[in-house]
């Protein structure tokens, strides 16, 4: 499978490494034309305001919305979760998202960097060590959204159809469970 990682800003190289370790061909995506080549897309961690700004400046905004609407499997971590959310709280004035996931996400919900943390949590029935950096959480989920992990009282991993999002950064650990779930459960058959 050919996996694209949106490479406008953030830790896209870590996602490319994880996808490669899962046995897939991973490429950096910076142009709309590259979207037609891929079977799945990953939106990395980084600054959501920076990434959406660059996506709008380089004519990627509408094309990414379109491939999401057409059912391309997409996984977003942290900033990627914000970019996939239909609604955000705590964004800058007029901050857009690609949307697709029927959730409300609060930016920097866990606090500033001093509150960034690592913690063990359950993901899809197994234990996982998760790293949260100025992380968002999911404040509300739509009816068809499945919550895969929680931290305290907050949903931090969610799935709806072909879309997966986590507040945390599996790409910063050596645990490939979230990436494997995305490739094996969501992208399967593609």
């Amino acid at each position: 499978m050919k996996v694209g990682v949106l490479a406008l800003q953030g830790d896209f190289r870590e996602h490319i490494k994880a996808a490669t370790e899962c046995g897939h061909l991973a490429i950096e995506v910076r142009r709309a034309s590259e979207l037609s080549e891929i079977d799945a897309l990953i939106l990395p961690g980084g600054e959501s305001t920076t990434i959406i700004h660059l996506a709008q400046s380089f004519d990627l905004y509408e094309p990414i919305k379109e491939v999401i609407a057409k059912g391309l499997p997409v996984y977003g971590s942290c900033a990627g979760m914000i970019l996939l959310a239909d609604r955000i709280v705590g964004g800058i004035a007029g901050q857009k998202t690609f949307g697709g996931l029927d959730i409300t996400v609060r930016r920097n919900a866990f606090g500033r960097q001093v509150d960034s943390f690592e913690s063990d949590l359950e993901f899809n029935g197994a234990s996982l060590h998760a790293v949260f950096i100025r992380a968002p959480w999911v404040e509300e989920v739509g009816k068809s959204v499945q919550v895969l992990s929680t931290a305290g009282e907050h949903a931090v991993a969610v799935r709806e159809g072909n879309l997966l999002a986590t507040s945390f950064h599996p790409e910063l650990t050596h645990d490939l469970a979230v990436h494997r779930y995305f490739f094996d459960e969501i992208c399967k058959g593609r």
């Binding site: 961690g45 980084g46 600054e47 800058i92 606090g111 001093v114 960034s116 943390f117 913690s119 950096i133």
Partner: protein, 295 residues
Amino acid sequence: MSEATGTARVKRGMAEMLKGGTIMDVVNVEQAKIAEDAGACAVMALERVPADIRAQGGVARMSDPDMIQKIQAAVSIPVMAKVRIGHFVEAQILETLNVDYIDESEVLTPADYTNHIDKWGFKIPFVCGATNLGEALRRINEGAAMIRSKGEAGTGDVSNAMMHMRTIGAEIRRLTSMREDELYVAAKELQAPYALVKEVAETGKLPVVLFTAGGIATPADAALMMQMGADGVFIGSGIFKSGNPAQRAAACVKATTFFNDAKVLAEVSRGLGEAMVGINVADIPVPHRLAERGW
């Protein structure tokens, strides 16, 4: 759920999220908003940009907490702030403000001409400057979670940052080609801990993110540093000492992402107006060069 904060992983991980981004010096709320709107991935809050510190002289210190907090309240992106080299009390103060990163910076007047801050004791991560690999590894050994080059700040002359990036790169490449039994002497020569030297020899890169800073004034400068292997770019005086800060800021953000695409670089370099007035590093007497600060 057992939570651990302030770990090396979350400190270094924060820098990973800044990669491919541009961090801009700002002195007030208005500038911070311009930077955020232009796509900066973080801002550095300080009272005077390096060009002004250089022009005005005197002792440069940590900024007023009021000013830093106003900027924190105004933007949603990470806010960094500077402390003097070795001034661990300024760092304690910034920690209570919950800044997202502390820059132990040669741009301010050093407080200690022998020791840097012991950065392991803080929950807030630190970025430190380095002119070469040994200096970078000494800072990492003291707990720095991010390294940046130390190009001559406030000049708009990129040549020193270039030299630091070339030196760090060359010294890393040299380590990767050495026999294992030669790394002990390499550590001695670099004046850096053996364990870190061995790690760099094995991985071919620093164990933390490497940004570039100092003298970057144009989109082409930013792209040059990215092509030299920087993970991202700090721009100090270059944005807000220029004719059209908003446009130049946006252009530098784009150039940092599309650093390998000369057509994009040509496009974003058009019509930016006046760049900051530069000072040639060669015209600054060695004792007045900021990059010489740090040990």
